[in-house]
Each structure stands twice: as structure tokens, then as C-alpha cells.
């Protein structure tokens, strides 16, 4: 990946007010890359206990998604429109610049229940425990290997911990869906939700960036990726020849006593009115969480000028929304005992 040359190359000090004890934290930006992931990806602990990012290995077996095309009266526009909305959602991620994802549509299937069965199911009338609870719009269930050598259900074995082997997207039949992008009262836009769920399909976790597709509580209609979504995707599936150059910012967030702050949300925000680097991608903040030692790396930054901020994950996105993050580092929760600061 190309470094963006106008980014600061030396140390930048940020002072963060320690709200509870009125102490101060020091945030130090350094140029050495550290192993913390931009945006948020799902993590699986490998055999040595280290977190490994969940992702597909497209060379291991052919990855396809298969529809059960049955729809209920809750999708009045019908089966073809529902399938088309999800196809568009997959196309949005597949066509993203700077990333290489190889997934295709397979034959339709009569299956109707999520399962680790070698079929990446997309269904609209499914057997799932949440079906009577219309507040849950959709879920994506992923199955990953915890180690090398696990059966993939494709006559191969897993190559690494965190390798995604199966992913099922389940839309709640108790929800009233529209496919025209204009949901009314008590309706939801299918393509918007599908775009979010397909992000999970590829291994992305929820993001704390409000305008990201992977923000868990989005607006009514949001079907295009943001910089933050793209940063997560290109980190999991980097393209050998990037479509445009991006840079990164690395650093460490520490308390005044020098100890690292775990799970602080660090984000880079453009200070200019520059247009997005590529068409179809929305300009947004790009965020990352700190590791237990306080280190972080924000990647996927298009050429621009940025400010960097750090905030605790205490709303709207919290430790609960990133349920896998703290356990992946053998921690009970992220730390939130500090105050937001911009620099």
C-alpha cells in the first residue's frame, strides 16, 4: 500500500482529558505500523490465543451465495425484486475499489434454515428464532474455523484460524420490506439492510462510524459504501494493484501513567471539502479501535488533510455492538473511562 506523503511523519501528541479522575492521557501518533485493524473486522482467536481477522480464502474453494427465492406477503414487490435487491448489495461490495472479492451467485436452493452445511444461504422466509421478533430485521450467521485443518464442507480443510467457511443471510419474515428505496412507516428498505448484512458475509463487524454501512443503527436508506467500509474490506481482501493510492496513520493511545487504552475508537476525519477519491464511495470518517497496548492503525485514507480524534465506545456504538472484539483479546470489555478529544 502506498503511504500518503502529506500525512505527518513524526510524532503528534494528543492530550485527552481523563474525565473520572481529572487526569490526562497522552495520545501519541507514531509512524510504525501496529497490528490493529482499521474499520472493524470480525475476529477469531487462533490456537495461540491471538485474534485473527475473519475472511474468506477464495483460493480454497469457490464461494457462492444461493437464494431460497420464496417470499411472503411481507415483500409485496415479489421474489424477483427481493432477489435483485440482494444481488445489488453483493455487487456493491464486489465492485469496491482497492479490494478483490470473488463471490458469485449459485443455483437456487430449497433450504430454509441457517446451518454450517456448505451452502451460503440467502432467504426471506426462514426458520429462525427471531422470526417472531420484528425488531430484528436480519441476521448473518458466519461459521469460521478456529484452526488449520478443519473440514470446510467443500472437500478441503481450513488454512487458517478465522477462515470463513459458511455465511447465511436471514431476513426476518415478520418485517415489512420494500425494494424501491423508499420505506414508509413500519417498513424497511431491503437493499439497505442487505448491504449491511453482506458486509458481515465478508467478515466485517459493526463500525462506530455513523455514516458507514456497517454502523449498526443506520438511516432509512443507505446502499453505497463509505470510506470506512472500504477500509475494512481492503484490509481483508487487498487488491494487488490498487485502483488509487491510500495512506495510513498509526499510533498509540495511553493513559498518563503510560498504560495503553484498550478499545478506544480512534478516527481520522477530513478537514477539506475534497470530493471522494472514487465514484460510488461516500466520503466519511475512518475509524479503528486500539489493541490492549493502545496501538492502532487507520488504513485506507485517500489523499487529503485529516484531523485525528479519540473517543470512548460508550454510545451509540458500545462494547455490546462489537461483541467479539474484547473477547478476541481476552478482555472483558473495552475501556471507556476517558473523554473525547479532537486534534
Amino acid at each position: 500500500m502506498n503511504e500518503y506523503r502529506r500525512l505527518p511523519r513524526t510524532t503528534l501528541w494528543l492530550i485527552v482529558l481523563f474525565i473520572l479522575a481529572s487526569l490526562f492521557f497522552v495520545v501519541r501518533l507514531i509512524t510504525t505500523p501496529k497490528p490493529v485493524y482499521s474499520a472493524q473486522v470480525q475476529l477469531t482467536r487462533n490456537g495461540s490465543g491471538a485474534p485473527s481477522p475473519d475472511h474468506w480464502d477464495f483460493s480454497s474453494f469457490e464461494v457462492t451465495y444461493q437464494f431460497n427465492t420464496t417470499v411472503g406477503s411481507n415483500i409485496p414487490s415479489g421474489s424477483s425484486a427481493a432477489v435483485s435487491a440482494v444481488q445489488h448489495a453483493f455487487a456493491t461490495w464486489k465492485s469496491a475499489p482497492n479490494a478483490s472479492v470473488q463471490v458469485s451467485q449459485g443455483a437456487n436452493t430449497p433450504l430454509s434454515a441457517p446451518a454450517f452445511d456448505g451452502v451460503n444461504l440467502v432467504c426471506f422466509v426462514c426458520q429462525a428464532d427471531f422470526a417472531k421478533d420484528s425488531s430484528t430485521l436480519a441476521v448473518t450467521l458466519t461459521t469460521t474455523a478456529d484452526a488449520v485443518g478443519q473440514d470446510t464442507k467443500h472437500n478441503t480443510t481450513s488454512r487458517f484460524a478465522g477462515q470463513i467457511l459458511d455465511a447465511d443471510i436471514i431476513f426476518n419474515p415478520a418485517v415489512q420490506w420494500v425494494t424501491n428505496g423508499r420505506p414508509g412507516s413500519n417498513q424497511e428498505d431491503l437493499q439497505t439492510v442487505a448491504t449491511h448484512e453482506v458486509g458481515h458475509f465478508f467478515g466485517l463487524d459493526h463500525s462506530a462510524v455513523v455514516r458507514a454501512v456497517m454502523f449498526p443503527f443506520g438511516g432509512a436508506t443507505l446502499t453505497t459504501l463509505s470510506y470506512d467500509d472500504l477500509a475494512g474490506l481492503m484490509q481483508l481482501y487487498p487488491k494487488s494493484s490498487p485502483d488509487f493510492a491510500t495512506g495510513k496513520i498509526s499510533g498509540t493511545v495511553t493513559f498518563a501513567n503510560g498504560g495503553g487504552v484498550f478499545g478506544a475508537h480512534v478516527f481520522a476525519d477530513s478537514t477539506t471539502n475534497s470530493s471522494p477519491a472514487v465514484g460510488g464511495i461516500r466520503k466519511s470518517t475512518i475509524g479503528a479501535l486500539t489493541a490492549p497496548d493502545g496501538t492502532y492503525t487507520i488504513i485506507g485514507l485517500p489523499p487529503d488533510n485529516y484531523t485525528v480524534g479519540v473517543e470512548p465506545l460508550d454510545g451509540p456504538v458500545t462494547n455490546s455492538n462489537l461483541a467479539e472484539y474484547a473477547p478476541a483479546y481476552n478482555q472483558s470489555s473495552v475501556q471507556t473511562n476517558f473523554n473525547t478529544r479532537w486534534h
Binding site: 473520572l20 470480525q42 477469531t44 441457517p114 446451518a115 454450517f116 428464532d129 427471531f130 417472531k132 420484528s134 425488531s135 430484528t136 430485521l137 436480519a138 441476521v139 448473518t140 450467521l141 458466519t142 461459521t143 469460521t144 474455523a145 478456529d146 478443519q150 424497511e188 439497505t192 439492510v193 449491511h196 458481515h200 459493526h206 462506530a208 462510524v209 455513523v210 455514516r211 454501512v213 449498526p216 443503527f217 443506520g218 438511516g219 432509512a220 443507505l222 476525519d269 477530513s270 466520503k283 470518517t285 480524534g309 473517543e311 460508550d314 454510545g315 451509540p316 456504538v317 458500545t318 462494547n319 455490546s320 455492538n321 461483541a323 467479539e324 473477547p327 472483558s332 473525547t340 479532537w342
Partner: protein, 179 residues
């Protein structure tokens, strides 16, 4: 914080819609739940189902206080996902509990009708309890509760949410029961 989220935080349709879950108020959660319980996690166990297609995690709790209904002194919550036999299944946002963790749970019977319970609203009916240094108990389920900062105007906008004192949560559950 409940302060600044990001410079792009101009819109935030907090209460209207969601991509994974639709935010529910405490009153809605109460109405949709058969039991509301302040409880403490004892232990968790994950295992494949009989067909070896899905991993479920069952967590046993002890009841410390009934806010709606009367739960058994110990009960089990069943959630999809977990790790077993070299595999992990996960649904983003579904959170497990560690032994000793205190929480307020909004519950309904599991679809399996085996005596276990499910969390109402997938993740929303799970309010973690945190106690401050002064002893005040704060609960939060991670549903939007933010003050948004618009860099264009410099204005802060307040949004109501689901982080509150335990006392306030209990009052709202109690009021909702009477409706």
C-alpha cells in the same frame, strides 16, 4: 462521553430505523417480554445442536430481582453462536456473558420451548450493569444514546437513548407494566 462521535455525525436517524435491529424503547421491550430480571451470570456452555449445523451458547443466571413476572431462582438463556469443536459461529452484536457479570435481561421463552429463554430484540434486551465509584448503578444496552456534533454549524444535538440509572430503568419497567 455521550458527546462527539465524528465530524460526519450530521444526520443520525436514531430512533427510526436500523440495519440490523430496530431500536426499541424500554417500554416496548417490557411489553414484548414475559420476564424482566436483574440477574447475574453463573456459567456458559457452547455446543453443536443434534444435527451438527448450529452452535448454541447457554448461559445460566441466578435471579437477583424480578422486575416483570417471576423468573425461577436460576434460569438459562439460549443464544445462537459460540465456539465448539474447532469452529466458531457468530452473529454480530450478539454478546455473551462472563461469570459474575450483572445484567438486566428482557426475556421471552425460546422457540424451542425447552424451558430456556431468549433475549427480546436479539441484543437490545440485555442491559449491562456498571456501578460507579459512588455506588450508582448505570445500565446500558448499547442502543443509540448520543450527542451529535455538527462541525458545519458547531451545534450539538441531543438524542434520547437507553443508557440510564438502574433506578430509572426499574421505574420505566414498572410504569410499562401498568399500561
Amino acid at each position: 462521553m455521550k458527546q462527539i462521535l465524528s465530524a460526519a455525525l450530521v444526520l443520525l436517524c436514531a430512533a427510526s430505523s436500523a440495519t440490523t435491529v430496530k431500536p426499541l424503547s424500554v417500554e416496548e421491550l417490557t411489553a414484548r417480554s414475559t420476564h424482566v430480571v436483574r440477574a447475574r451470570a453463573v456459567e456458559s456452555h457452547s455446543a453443536w445442536n443434534a444435527a451438527h449445523t448450529l452452535i448454541y451458547t447457554e448461559t445460566r443466571f441466578t435471579t437477583e430481582e424480578n422486575l416483570k413476572g417471576t423468573a425461577p431462582s436460576t434460569f438459562t438463556v439460549r443464544q445462537i453462536g459460540g465456539s465448539a469443536e474447532g469452529y466458531t459461529q457468530k452473529v454480530s452484536g450478539v454478546r455473551s456473558w462472563r461469570p459474575g457479570e450483572e445484567t438486566v435481561l428482557f426475556l421471552r421463552p425460546s422457540e424451542t420451548n425447552d424451558g430456556t429463554y431468549a433475549i427480546t430484540g436479539l441484543i437490545q434486551g440485555n442491559f449491562a450493569v456498571k456501578r460507579t465509584s459512588t455506588g450508582t448503578a448505570i445500565v446500558s444496552n448499547g442502543v443509540p444514546d448520543v450527542t451529535a456534533f455538527d462541525t458545519a454549524t458547531g451545534k450539538l444535538s441531543q438524542y434520547g437513548g437507553a443508557s440510564m440509572s438502574l433506578q430509572e430503568l426499574k421505574r420505566r419497567v414498572s410504569s410499562a407494566r401498568l399500561q
